[in-house]
Symmetry: C2
DNA sequence: TTGAAAGCGCTAACAT
DNA sequence: ATGTTAGCGCTTTCAA
């Protein structure tokens, strides 16, 4: 494993010149450059990031905090983050918090130990206070899930409007008995989407029926099934359901099918997120698409700008209602 | 951001002693240790991985090569890798190759540039020749997908036996017309599973019908749909289908449902992998479970042992047929 | 038990 | 246009 010294010696130049060549700096004659490049080739020299990183005091690594890697909601965002990061010379460290404060703490430690240059947080359960404190010393941006109260830039969509449009779509289809399968209202997106749901109903003079609003304890599939079971057990059951996420909607769908009812004939169903599986169900889910890839890309650009010391502005991106077979 | 020098000065000791304390070395008096720890606390000192990594010539990072992060097949393996890596003081860099040689090349470069200490390859489309060459200089292990011809340790399951058992299950249920939805036979697992399929049929005196074997071009959902369409269009159509992966099976399931047929009444269906979504379909898929988490953990232990210079042995782990609603 | 000092591989300020 | 040199923050050898 050759190092910069050996290259310099063998090429008959100084290490500074070799450094200039490998970093493509100007001010090296073509002749010298070629001489150095030839030796680099011969020795199979690869510059060590370890030396460079210590010298420049950066790791070229970005932490991406997500609750769980198995949640397909994050995959497209991660793709957006990754592509952008790579283009800008960074790599990403995917950090699963499992909504566990200890794991979170461990990843924060990685930042303090200079193992990473910044954080993109997508974890709705993150400790906002700790994140805010950390943000005073380190570059951090929030993506998708965010908290307005803490002073950390974010990229998100208008959840209230998206939910409003989804429910309006159901109402326009003739549904008056529209249920909501919501998750924990500790999360901002849940509160916002519920507002949109209520606004749509109010606008059409429909009184929101409390029995039609179900809060799940967790966002996993089984809880969608369970919620739907409860809604189907009502003497006066809903004719349409808006689920806060595709995963919950897919759980609901399975429960509806198991009851021998048909979607959308007996019950219309809308999800949220447009995860890839929302297209694989029978019938395919109507859902709300977030511009995942772009959101990830934007968050990454923001973070890297912060790393470089620039100020950045939060942004709200456009969503889209995707009407498919389930409504 | 305090460094080790400041801590040493403020504590009135040498940097060597501070280093001993932060690394929990013996041979430091309790009095000295406490003095140093007090100063570390006061200065909020966090040792820099950058300095340590250069000094020890390691990055404490492991590359995990997967074709795509959106394939749920990998999530549990990754969890196993991650947990084990963290326990041993490593972090993982998830690398999506998209089966693109350029991306692959880029990740190999990360290893050469000392940005990572080793590779766990799970990419069936990886360039085996390049991987083998790299393995001569760097620690590498293969997980799940492997190539016996190159001298790189691997952890896998007995794919032939698993497929044999799955198909045998179908035959015992009375099915004689069992179709196979296979993927590209360039991949070892596809060839092995096909062997198992044929062995099971042969054992029961059933002649494999060439028309019942369909090779998809890609492993995504839509190709499962398409394959099933072709199988349904046969004048003499199969009564059972063994798909090489759950994703293909889920595509097949959607196509069967769309045709107004019922699973398992009209057609029985088996997948492979036990991805989380295989339980969310209606009906839930019968499938073959690989011990994903354990495989990831084992691969990681093997890799880290290699990094430490030890020799390691390949291993074959146990699978399990999970009988659910679709058969 | 503790300290002094070298050095990991690189970049960049400064000198020529 | 090129070279000399200091030093990023740490670990580790050797000496005391």
């Amino acid at each position: 494993m050759a190092n910069i010294q050996e290259v310099a010696r063998k090429a008959g130049v100084s290490v500074a010149t070799v450094s200039r060549v490998i970093n493509n700096y100007s001010g090296v004659t073509e002749r010298t450059r070629q001489k150095v490049e030839k030796v680099i080739e011969e020795l199979n020299y690869e510059p060590s990031m370890l030396g460079r990183n210590l010298r420049t005091l950066e790791s070229k690594l970005i932490l991406v905090l997500i609750p769980s890697i198995s949640n397909p909601f994050y995959t497209e965002i991660i793709n957006g983050i990754e592509e952008t990061a790579i283009n800008l010379g960074y790599n990403i460290l995917l950090c699963e918090t499992d909504s566990n404060p200890e794991h979170e703490q461990r990843y924060f430690g990685l930042l303090k130990k200079r193992m990473a240059d910044g954080i993109i947080s997508m974890d709705p359960a993150v400790n906002k206070a700790k994140l805010a404190e950390l943000a005073e010393s380190y570059p951090i941006v929030q993506c998708s899930e965010y908290d307005e109260d803490i002073n950390i830039p974010y990229v998100t969509i208008n959840n209230e409007l998206a939910a409003y449009q989804a429910v309006k779509h159901l109402v326009k289809l003739g549904h008056e008995k529209v249920a909501l399968i919501s998750s924990d209202e500790r999360y901002l997106y849940a509160r916002e989407r519920k507002c949109g749901y209520e606004r749509a109903l109010n606008e059409f003079g429909i009184t929101a029926n409390e029995a039609f609003i179900y809060h799940t304890e967790s966002i996993s599939f089984e809880y969608g099934q369970h919620a739907m079971r409860k809604l189907l057990d009502l003497k006066d059951r809903p004719t349409a359901v808006f689920a806060l996420s595709d995963i919950l909607a897919i759980g609901a769908l399975k429960e509806i099918n198991s009851s021998g009812l048909l979607v959308p004939k007996d019950i219309a169903l809308i999800g949220f997120d447009k995860i890839s599986f929302s297209n694989m169900t029978y019938p395919a889910l109507t859902t709300v698409a977030q511009p995942m890839f772009k959101m990830g890309a934007a968050a990454t650009n923001m973070l890297i700008n912060r790393i470089k010391g620039m100020r950045v502005e939060s942004m709200v991106m456009e969503h889209e209602l995707i009407i498919r077979e389930s409504t």
